[in-house]
Amino acid sequence: MPVMFIRSLGKKLVLQLKAFFLTMQEFFLFSVRAFMSFPKIIRYWRDVLDQATICGTDSIPIVLVSAISIGALLAIEVGNLLEDFGAKTMLGRSTALTVIRELGPLLMGLMLSARFGSRNGAELGAMQISEQIDALRAFGTDPIAKLVMPRLVAALIMFLPLTALSDFAGLQSASYMAEHYHRIDPGIFWNAVYPRLVAKDFVVGFLKAPVFAVIITLVSSFNGFSARGGTAGVGRSTIKGIVVSSGLVLIANFYVSKIVLENM
C-alpha cells in the first residue's frame, strides 16, 4: 500500500511539473509575441490611448487613496519611534526613503494588479470563452497585437507618472501628519527630504514601474487568454492572474531594490 501511494503521488507530481513547464513555455512565447507586436503600435494607437486612460487616468483615485493612507500611517508610526530616540527631525528623511524607494511603487503595483490586472483578466477571459478571440484569429487579426500589446504599451507609459504621483501624494500626507500630529515644522520636514535624496533613491523607485507594468499586464492577459470552462473559468483565471501578478510584484520589488542598491 505505501509503495502504491508513493507511486501515484510521484505520478501526480510528474504530471503537475509537466503542466507547469508547459504553462511556462506558453507564457514565454505569449510574452515574446506581445513584445514582437510593438512595431504595430502605430496601427493600434487608438487602443493604446484607450488602455492608457483605463490603467492611467482611471487608476488615479485608487493610487492616491493608497499613497495618502500609507504616507500618513508611516509618518505617525515612524515619528513615534524616532521620538524615543529624540530624532523626530529625521522623520522627513526616513519617510521619503521608504515612500520613494519601496512603498510608493509597491502599493501602486499591488493596487494596479488588483484594478488593471483584474480588468484585463476578466475582459480577455470573457472574450476567450465567447470565442471572440478565435473570431479575431479566424478573420485575420492577431489577437495579441490587437489586445495585449496596447495594454502593455499603455502600462509601460502610465505606470511611471503613477509612481511619481504615488510618491508625491505619500510624502504630502506624511508632511501633513508630521505637522499636525508630531508638531514638526514643514520646513524641517522637507529640509530632511530634499537635500539628502540621491539619484539611487529615484532609480530604485522608478525602475520598478516598468517591471511591474510588464508583470501585471502579461500575467493577467495570459490568464485571460487561457480561460476555459464558462463564467466560472473566467472567475478562476482572473483570480489566478491577480494572485500570481501580486506575488511576482512583491518578489520583483525585493530584487529590483537589492540589485540597484548593491550596484549603485
Partner: protein
C-alpha cells in the same frame, strides 16, 4: 476547395478525430453531421488553422496549411468566413461596427466603401434600423444574421457555419437556412455547415459527411443518406435530432 487528408487529433489521451478525410468543393454546401461533442466544430477550426492536427494534412485551395505559421495563415483565413456557434460578436461594438470591424482592421478600404458594404450586409440580413444597437439588445436569430453578415462582408470563397440553427426558434431557424441557401445562388459561395439537426442537412446541403466516434462513417450526396445502412445513421434518420 478545402481538403482534410487522414487527419487525426488528440486532446491529452482522448482521441477526437481518427483518420478523417473529406473534401469541400467550391460553390457547394457540405454538411458535417454528428452528435454533440464528437469533434464537428474541431473540424471547422482545423480548416481555419485555428488548431493543428496531430497527424494528417489540411489543404486550402491546394495549399498545405497544416504547419503554416500564424502570419501566413491570416492570408489563407481571409478566403473563408466563419460563423461561430455563439456568434462571437464584439459585445461593446454596435451592429454596424461589428460588421465593419474586420474591414477596418485588415483591408485598406476607403471609409465610403466600408460604409457601403456594411449597408449592403444590413440590408441582406434584414437588420435595417438596428445599425446602432448593441448585440445584447437583439434576438438570437438577429445576432446570428449579424454574424453571417460579418462573415460575408469580406466576400470570401467559402463560409463555415458552426451549428447555425442551434438554440433558435423554428421561425428564426427557417430564416437562417433560407439565408444560407441564398448565399450559393446569389454569391456563388461554398459553405460547410456543422450541425446535429438532420433537417438542416436535408434543407440546405448538397453533400453530407457523418462523423461518429471520431470517424467519418458516411460521405456522399445528401439524397444517398436515406440509403445508408450504418446503424447509427439509421437511428438518426428516425430520431431527426442527435442528442447522444
Amino acid at each position: 476547395m478545402i481538403e482534410l487528408r487522414k487527419v487525426g487529433l488528440k486532446y491529452g489521451d482522448k482521441e477526437i478525430l481518427n483518420n478523417v478525410s473529406l473534401t469541400v468543393q467550391d460553390n457547394t454546401i457540405k454538411a458535417i453531421l454528428g452528435p454533440s461533442g464528437v469533434g464537428k466544430s474541431t473540424i471547422l477550426k482545423l480548416m481555419l488553422g485555428l488548431i493543428k492536427p496531430n497527424n494528417g494534412q489540411v489543404l486550402v485551395d491546394g495549399t498545405d496549411i497544416t504547419n503554416m505559421n500564424e502570419t501566413s495563415l491570416y492570408k489563407i483565413r481571409r478566403k473563408m468566413g466563419m460563423v461561430f456557434q455563439g456568434n462571437a460578436l464584439f459585445d461593446s461594438l454596435t451592429i454596424s461596427q461589428n460588421l465593419g470591424f474586420f474591414l477596418r482592421e485588415n483591408m485598406k478600404l476607403p471609409e465610403e466603401e466600408i460604409s457601403r458594404r456594411v449597408a449592403e450586409q444590413i440590408q441582406f440580413a434584414g437588420l435595417e434600423g438596428y445599425e446602432e444597437q448593441l448585440p445584447e439588445s437583439l434576438s438570437g436569430g438577429m445576432r446570428r444574421r449579424v454574424a453571417i453578415g460579418r462573415a460575408l462582408i469580406f466576400k470570401p470563397h467559402m463560409i463555415l457555419f458552426d451549428e447555425p440553427t442551434a438554440g433558435l426558434d423554428p421561425v428564426s431557424s427557417k430564416k437562417i437556412l433560407s439565408l444560407i441557401s441564398s448565399l450559393r445562388h446569389n454569391n456563388n459561395l461554398g459553405a460547410v455547415i456543422v450541425t446535429h439537426i438532420i433537417d438542416d442537412v436535408f434543407n440546405v446541403a448538397d453533400s453530407v459527411a457523418v462523423l461518429y466516434q471520431g470517424e467519418i462513417i458516411f460521405d456522399d450526396v445528401t439524397e444517398k443518406l436515406h440509403n445508408a445502412t450504418h446503424p447509427f445513421i439509421r437511428s438518426i434518420l428516425s430520431d431527426k435530432i442527435l442528442e447522444l
